[in-house]
Amino acid sequence: MHELSIATSIIKSAEVELIENKAESIKEIFLEIGKLSGVEIASLTFVWELAAKGTALENSKVNIHEPEGFARCGECSTEYHLEKIFDVCPNCKSPFKEILKGKELKIIKLIID
């Protein structure tokens, strides 16, 4: 259940920003959590309420963008969609690849007041 750690980490970072910007509240938070990041959105949503309770994010709207996985083949340079982290190149079947998208785990922005 590392999603609880992730949620707590997001909340702490956001609260630091809130204080640094001398703001009163966080209206919205925008997250980018790639489909290959290892974070289950359903689990994160499940623990979010608990983790956010009593914090500056208790009533904030949470927007999550989930980039799809993309890779470039290490042998033939074909770029392809990665459903699973171990998908092989559809062109040459090589497992060697550079993951271009899908591993994101970021706080993109906050709307504060």
Partner: protein
């Protein structure tokens, strides 16, 4: 306890098991957990115009936009890099052992220490949710060992390692082994600052574990296949397992070993020796 974790305050105690096996619990009122939770709620003391504010705000939700583009695990990753720098400076080779519970992490470690302790200095950080059982097993070999009980936490993080390493004060040119909490999912996300991540799978598990838990195999550089002495009694296809592991991570280096019979351990030892020299 955790840079990132939300565990409650008294669950991340670090216990130090001394060389003689006696546990001398320095009950550090560990700052692990003492990030004052109180502060968050109570920044009220400025001006108490909450209600006033609220009335204005409804409907025209302008707000200020703060662009962050910040990694969620940034704090963990930065501290992991510091740990890595510390290991580098002291010519320490640090490994992070990960696996499901029961794959034989502690047994491999015990055997390795028993066979190599006359030529290589070891120190060990044990991670478990509860008990000092694993640390006790290692302490029996007269090796400096620290047990981290994570309480409800499911993984070790770089802050725990940073604190543990200061306590252990490993020798220059030694090997630091971090035995992570038995869990094939959560520890994969947390860089501890190790030089190599070693995933262990035993032949009593399924051959398809690498594709069932791909993140862990993707993030590891070494794979130890343990309990190969049991192969004659099992329907287990080692080649199939290796193929799955290499599909997930084509550069993973695989060693087939048995901590019980000692089979295959020589190659693992050669790997450890050569990693120290680099």
């Amino acid at each position: 306890m955790c840079v990132t974790c939300g565990c409650s305050s008294d669950e991340g105690t670090v216990k130090f098991i001394g060389r003689n096996g006696k546990s001398s619990h320095h009950t550090h009122a560990h700052h692990f957990h003492t990030h004052d939770h109180g502060k968050h709620h109570h920044d009220h003391d400025k001006d108490h115009d909450h209600f006033h504010d609220h009335n204005h705000d409804h409907n025209h939700v302008h707000g200020r936009e703060i662009n962050l583009e910040k990694e969620i695990l940034l704090k963990n990753d930065l501290l992991a890099e510091r740990n890595r720098g510390y290991f580098d400076a002291k010519n320490i080779f640090a490994i992070n052992m990960v696996s499901s519970p029961g794959s034989g992490k502690t047994s491999i470690l015990e055997r390795t220490i028993a066979d190599l302790k006359n030529e290589i200095s070891f120190s060990v950080i044990e991670g478990d949710q509860q008990t000092t059982n694993d640390a006790d097993r290692i302490a029996a070999h007269n090796i400096p060992v620290l047990q981290i009980n994570t309480g409800k936490g499911c993984h070790l993080d770089s802050e725990m390692i940073s604190t543990a390493v200061k306590e252990l004060a490993p020798k220059d040119g030694s090997i630091v082994v971090i035995e992570n909490v038995g869990n094939l999912v959560c520890p994969s996300m947390f860089d501890l600052g190790e030089n190599k991540r070693v995933v262990i799978i035993s032949v009593t598990e399924g051959e398809d574990k690498p594709i069932k838990y791909p993140d862990m195999f993707y993030g590891s550089q070494i794979c130890l296949i343990n309990k190969i002495d049991l192969l004659p009694y099992l329907k287990f296809d080692v080649e199939k397992l290796k193929n799955y592991a290499r599909t997930v991570n084509p550069t993973i280096e695989i060693f087939e070993v048995s901590a019980t019979s000692g089979e295959g351990m020589d190659k693992w030892y050669s790997f450890l020796r050569s990693s120290l020299i680099k």
